[in-house]
Amino acid sequence: MKQTPFTEFHRAAGAKLVEFAGFEMPVRYTGDVREHLAVRNTAGLFDITHMGEFEVRGAQAGEWLDRMLTNHVGGMAIGQCLYSPMCRPDAGIVDDLLVYRYADRFMLVVNASNMAKDFAWLDSHRPAGISLEDRSAATALLAVQGPKASAVLAGHVPAAALDLGFYRFTEGGIFGVPATVSRTGYTGEDGFELYFEPAHGAAVWEGLLRAGEPHGLELVGLGARDTLRLEMGYMLYGNDIDDTTTPLEAGLGWTVKLAKGEFHGSAVLAKQKAEGLKRRLVGFQLEGRRVPRHGMNIVAGGRTVGQVTSGTFSPSLERPIGMGYVETALAANGTALEIQAGSSLLAARVTARPFYTRGSHRS
């Protein structure tokens, strides 16, 4: 199993470590609810080194990425980050990723579980003159998320980093360590993601813990990361989206830029847009305390109409929430659904996403 530069720190902090996408990762330290609420109320520190980083270089790199991704890379400014699905020609999603535009290159931040697949896919479509390098093993990645994230980093990153707009980044140092600092995250809160060389892991980790202590910074595991992203209605690849779902079905229409010209999946997506969707990903809340889980059937009018893709108990809303694909006729807000949990049918209602709307992130 692969380790991150922080694995021993996790162990020392009493984390429960689990295998995740080939890495030994902390799923929780003190408790899912406490960690979740720390991110909502103060700040949390996440080790997300398992994510993959690819570097793309070449004079035509932007044009090529525009053919590989659904969002508009060509419209990006230097110092900007962009969320985009990457589709196959049939519009099935290969992965959802972040694009960073540097002056001389692009960085793609991909899901750990898809690293090998993504690299192979990109490489097999790579024209002459474009270089693609997997920098994952040479990159440590930490996220500081929460309303106090900025206060935690103040004085330890360049002032420009604290002034960044949402989905912008700068190259600078943190505790004197060269880093890319971006105002990004997957929690619905203000926050930063920090990319640096693994050799500096201890300096940054220990520096952040010291700097964070007066602000209530807590260590947060993958468990709370999942409940935080689900409260925001954000996608988890492999659960909510995969090779069999399209960005339009998943409600990611805002990342599909048909006007930019042809890209992998554009013909199918244009057709879906013109003809209307047969199914859509919806969010739903449940009335009781039983929790919908991935794979449970969604029932309407006595028949199965879909499956739960993600479900959890929302620590912020103190009620169960979930997502799943249903026929478009059942996708309107307020539609009554039922979730089959063993022999029980749980009453659910289609709810607009995000479920949690009081986050501190700035758009």
Partner: protein
């Protein structure tokens, strides 16, 4: 992780404590550690007959869900109503206030057949390895 030695255990990580002819049942600290924060416990009504080894309820945590299995056959005489309002007690005091049901065993000798402290500790070590 230390396990109390005044209770007996099941392979499914329930504990059972015998007092005055009744058996109190809960889940072990190892189980709560695996589950994470408990947010809901579904328990049977008093009066229900339980079959040994069969599910009698559900414990929902934020990240996962697990059935509760009856350590022995008998009738439910009491359920812990505190858990309806405060399921987190299961994490805070799994062998105390976080108990779940009290059973009147149909076979008084069944309790002695449950796992001892040492057997359970060994089981957890094996499962953890």
């Amino acid at each position: 992780m230390g396990f109390p030695d005044d209770v007996r255990y099941t392979k499914e990580h329930e504990w059972a404590r015998e007092e005055g002819g009744l058996v109190t049942v809960g889940i072990t600290s190892w189980a709560t550690d695996q589950l994470g924060d408990v947010v809901f416990v579904e328990l049977p009504e008093p009066g229900r007959a339980l079959e040994a080894g069969k599910p009698f309820g559900v414990v929902e945590a934020v990240k996962t869900v697990s059935d509760l299995f009856a350590p022995l056959a008998g009738e439910v005489v009491e359920v812990n109503t505190l858990l309806a309002d405060n399921p987190a007690v299961v994490n805070q005091a799994p062998y105390g206030d976080g108990w779940m049901v009290r059973i009147r065993p149909s076979d008084p000798k069944a309790f002695a057949q449950l796992l001892s402290h040492d057997d359970y500790e060994k089981l957890v070590e094996e499962q953890h390895a």
